[in-house]
């Protein structure tokens, strides 16, 4: 069953390459996405048997991330189909510099989407760290072409930076895994296998200096992919240049997968009683990320970049949550879900804005509420949700983290956390409100959104965000508890 979760999208991706007819391929995309979601939902009822001698298995954490990924992918795929239908034209004129450019072959785009899904699923379910590494690197390779969908120099630049920086980071992560292998080698030469389960159960036998080094390397490596400052540098470029549906997946799903890599390391360090060491690092980088995000969000004129930096901020929040430990971990895992839903919605809405206003400069966007009523409302909802105001999901998770910080007497962390959140809120609200409200510029005509999905999909996500704010299903709570339990 787990294998299916990986085989289905992979093979579908392979098929997508060679299918000529657009209709058929789109149907395939939707079908795969639906099948994947259905399958991953069934794993909640019947937990699947481990495969490859326990290398592929679903623990609470993995299942959570995997389900989230496939759900987001389902949403994204519906959006993508409508989006691709609109992008069918041969050449497009760039709205920033006016040159003409063409898009990548839709076939390869779809294929890469599916491979991307397969890779992310593999990340979620692989218990063997080296395998997990392989999967993470695979996500990079599969998603790079997505960023380069619009064939012009800016997207190319973004792609290049993404590739290079992430590859470097991931290479370091590999070194980290090797260090871990060393740490897992007992003096008598016997070694602990590199599966999370074994490492946790034997965590106390790990060689501490090597493990510390390993953890540092893993943090830097996966942190690069996850977008922790100061390794986040690829993130704003990639998110702002990729087509919005890709941005949504990058922010909503990919970052979580990278985060999972760090979480695995954290699991081990917690089990090994080294929590206070790894917690410190996570706290430091979490706060740094929030600070950097605050700095770049204030006065940010490109609304897609603004969203990207907000992703950096929220990755920071996740790191802080895990670093605080205790109840905060629960909050962090919950925040993974909330952030993914909200941010995916925001990016999709941003895509609609982009289509209607043909500019990424928030100063040139106004009156969205009257031009694109649905998207406009969702934009405001997203803004409020992402800045952590009730009654939306992120508030609950962010509050849980804050509470833990104060309960643990981490006053400094709590204060800094609140101050940065406040700054970011104030900085995001100004441009975001100006975009939604006011009267639209004369030349902007209410572009009739042809594809219904373009507004329905974000609306669905918006509803989900709202629901998560007023009702966290007990089954989910239980899963979150379980997951948090792994992380101490």
């Amino acid at each position: 069953m787990i294998v299916l979760l990986i085989i289905i999208p992979a093979s579908a991706g392979l098929a997508a390459f060679f299918i000529e007819s657009d209709r058929l391929r789109r149907i395939l995309l939707l079908a795969t996405a639906s099948a994947q979601t259905a399958l991953s939902l069934t794993t909640w009822i019947v937990s699947p048997a481990p495969a490859l001698g326990g290398w592929l298995a679903e623990d609470a954490l993995g299942r959570l991330i995997e389900t989230l990924t496939s759900v987001l992918f389902l949403a994204a795929s519906f959006y993508a189909v409508a989006y691709l239908r609109e992008e069918r034209r041969q050449t497009h004129s760039d709205f920033e510099e006016g040159f003409l450019f063409s898009n990548a072959r839709e076939a390869s785009f779809t294929a890469c989407l599916l491979f991307f899904l397969a890779a992310m699923t593999l990340v979620a379910v692989s218990q063997q760290l080296a395998l997990l590494w392989v999967a993470v690197e695979a996500t990079t390779l599969a998603s790079a072409p997505l960023i380069y969908f619009h064939r012009h120099h800016r997207s190319l630049e973004a792609t290049w930076k993404y590739l290079l920086i992430c590859s470097v980071g991931i290479a370091l992560a590999l070194l980290g895994i090797f260090f871990l292998a060393v740490a897992a080698t007992n003096p008598d030469g016997t070694t602990i296998p590199l599966t999370v389960q074994d490492l946790r159960s034997n965590a106390h036998h790990l060689n501490v200096p090597w493990f510390r080094a390993a953890f540092v390397l893993l943090l830097v490596g996966f942190g690069t992919k996850m977008g922790l400052a100061p390794f986040h540098t690829w993130l704003p470029d990639a998110h702002s240049e990729a087509p919005s549906v890709a941005s949504a997946l990058l922010s909503g799903a990919l970052l979580n997968c990278a985060f999972l890599g760090i979480l695995r390391a954290q699991e081990i360090s917690v089990a090994g009683g080294l929590a206070d060491f790894s917690d410190k690092l996570l706290l430091v980088f979490g706060l740094i990320s929030m600070g950097v995000a605050a700095a770049f969000i204030s006065g940010q004129t490109d609304y897609k970049r603004m969203l990207a930096y907000s992703s950096v901020e929220h990755m920071g929040i996740l790191a802080v949550g895990v670093g605080l430990g205790g109840a905060a971990v629960f909050g962090a895992v919950l925040h993974v879900i909330n952030h993914s839903l909200t941010k995916a919605m925001l990016f999709l809405v941003a895509g609609n804005f982009l289509a209607a206003y043909r500019t990424k400069n928030s100063a040139e966007v106004s009156g969205a509420l009257s031009v694109l009523p649905v998207s406009g409302v969702l934009w405001l909802v997203g803004l409020l949700a992402i800045t952590g105001s009730p009654p939306f999901g992120p508030f609950l998770s962010e509050f849980t983290i804050l509470k833990a910080a104060l309960d643990h007497g981490q006053i400094f962390v709590a204060v800094l956390y609140l101050v940065l959140l406040a700054i970011i809120m104030a900085a995001m609200a100004a441009p975001a409100l100006a975009m939604a409200q006011g009267t639209p510029a004369a030349d902007v005509k209410a572009a009739p959104q042809r594809g219904l999905a373009l507004s329905v999909v974000p609306a669905m996500l918006g509803i989900a965000v709202l629901v998560m704010g007023v009702y966290v299903p007990p089954v989910l709570t239980r899963a979150l508890r379980e997951a948090a339990h792994l992380l101490g």
Binding site: T233, G299, L396, A429, G438
Partner: protein, 657 residues
Amino acid sequence: MTALLISLLLFGTGAAGSLIFANRGRWPTFIGAGSVIVGSLFGIVPALRVALGAPPQSLRIAWDVPYGSLYFRLDALSAFFLLPIFLICALAALYGAQYLEAYRGRKALAPPWFFLNVLTASMVVVVLAHNAILFLTAWETMALSSFFLVTFEDEKESTRQAGWTYLVASHIGTAFLLVLFVLLSKANGSMDFDRFSASAGAGLLFVLALIGFGTKAGFVPLHVWLPEAHPAAPSHVSAVMSAVMIKTGIYGLLRILTFLGPPQAWWGWTLCAIGLTSGVLGVLLALAQHDLKRLLAYHSVENIGIIALGLGVGMVGLSAGAPFIAIAGFAGALLHVLNHALFKGLLFFGAGNVAHGTHTREIDRMGGLLRRMPGTGATFLIGAAAISGLPPLNGFISEFLIYLASFKGAVSLGASGNVPMLAALSGLALIGGLAAACFAKAFGIVFLGHPRTEDAEGAHEAGLAMLAPGFILAAGCIAIGLFGSAVVRSMAPLISTVTGLSLIPVGQNLAEASNSVARVGYFGAVLIGLATLLSLARRIALSPRRVATAETWGCGYASPSPRMQYTGASFAQPLTEIFAAFLQTHQSFTGLEEFFPQAAEFHTHTDDPYQSYVFRPLFRGISRGMTYLRPLQQGKVQLYVLYIAITLLALLLWQIS
């Protein structure tokens, strides 16, 4: 409780309905306004019962969010705050139903009705909530829905600016509340109010509450959002926000006090100081305004200041173990909460009628409206007299109680306690005088004399639905003014909830205070009688005589013109001169030159000093500081990889060695 739940349900359905039938002509108006009115009628009954001493009711339902539970509790305190909420919201709905018609065709009318229902519901939940998560959710929902109502006319730049200020202010205020509630729940984990305990230093908690709730209530200097937001909003929304929404801040403060145990003296001193600054600065800034609704907004700051003074006096009394001072002080403050709701709602409705009739909010462009809008004028006059604390109206009753408490304190408390009392005394006196001056200006310039512009010339009276609320509230002002003693006596359960004193002594002290109030009431009645008698007498005296009408005597000046009348600015000028230091009024004057001078121009404009000298610079500074980090994102991939390398090495050096 069930009645309250039903009313909440009604608000919910109203909200939903007004959206669902958004493009069915007048349906949203009927549904939205109807639900608010009917829901309020449902809810006001149990509120009244509990406020008058019925036992508290509570309802706790499990809620599947972290730390959350749907825990509602209706005790005397919540009930007391529910009354104005229901009353004003219902009247505002009635008013809005007609007021918003002016926008039909230009704007979608469904959203304001949706948000009005949400706002009402959330305010109700705020005062009922007995669980922090529930409270915070309702609290922020309240802020957001009112935000969307404020930005109803979002095509105006000023409105958007006001919206942003409001949103940011309430968000930051909420941040303090988060910390406050977490610290309160620290002792025994649960976020339910009845599990709260002031484990951490009560002083810190008090300060947090003061800032967090003070932002909503509009304590100086946290009031800056208020004079922006209230004028920007549609008038019925301004009424709701100013009359009841900001009072939820006072409610929150009182609710928190019930967790903190016996107050320390310095809390009372602090509140007195805040009240004094808010009151005096509020009324001074109000004096300097030219925009009628902005003027009213600053008066909200002033009245919040008076309330704070009352609370402060009460707390000093409580900490000094002087029950009468405590009880009279709190009673005055709480009664003023109710009274301010009445007359401020009335005034904002009146201001709405004026703006609606003249298409301007500039006081100096009005004049002579009393002849054109008799109903609005009469009610506005009553509101003006009431807010200036003049007998025989309700404003005087509450201020009288505070005076009584602070006189008592000045007389009986030692040097330890009587400084705040004297501050309260002279402060109240000064505030009272200035408020009277300000409303003499507001009413006199707007409603009396000649119309100053065509707008004022062509003003027309508002429709019935926009007049009725004013009359109802005016009746309320008079009623409390005459029969205040009954109200005061009935406040015993409330006061004992707030002060934690047992019911019997509270009752006795209230009875003592209400004796004086009763006398005041008699005097009010006699005053009305005597005044009518005298005016009848002069009518009789005049009846056989010749009564002529003529031009106003211009002291021999041949051809006076309406533009020569005293303007609001010139009326307030002597006072604004005296207090110029606090106001920082900007003047621009293109003077008279030569023998045959050209037309000269004179402008005065008073910004909020805190806004322009504290907060705006602060925010600008922060964002400027932030931009120093921008060069990090150079665009050079080489640099980016270098960051990684350096960080990695630094970490290794830090962690491995």
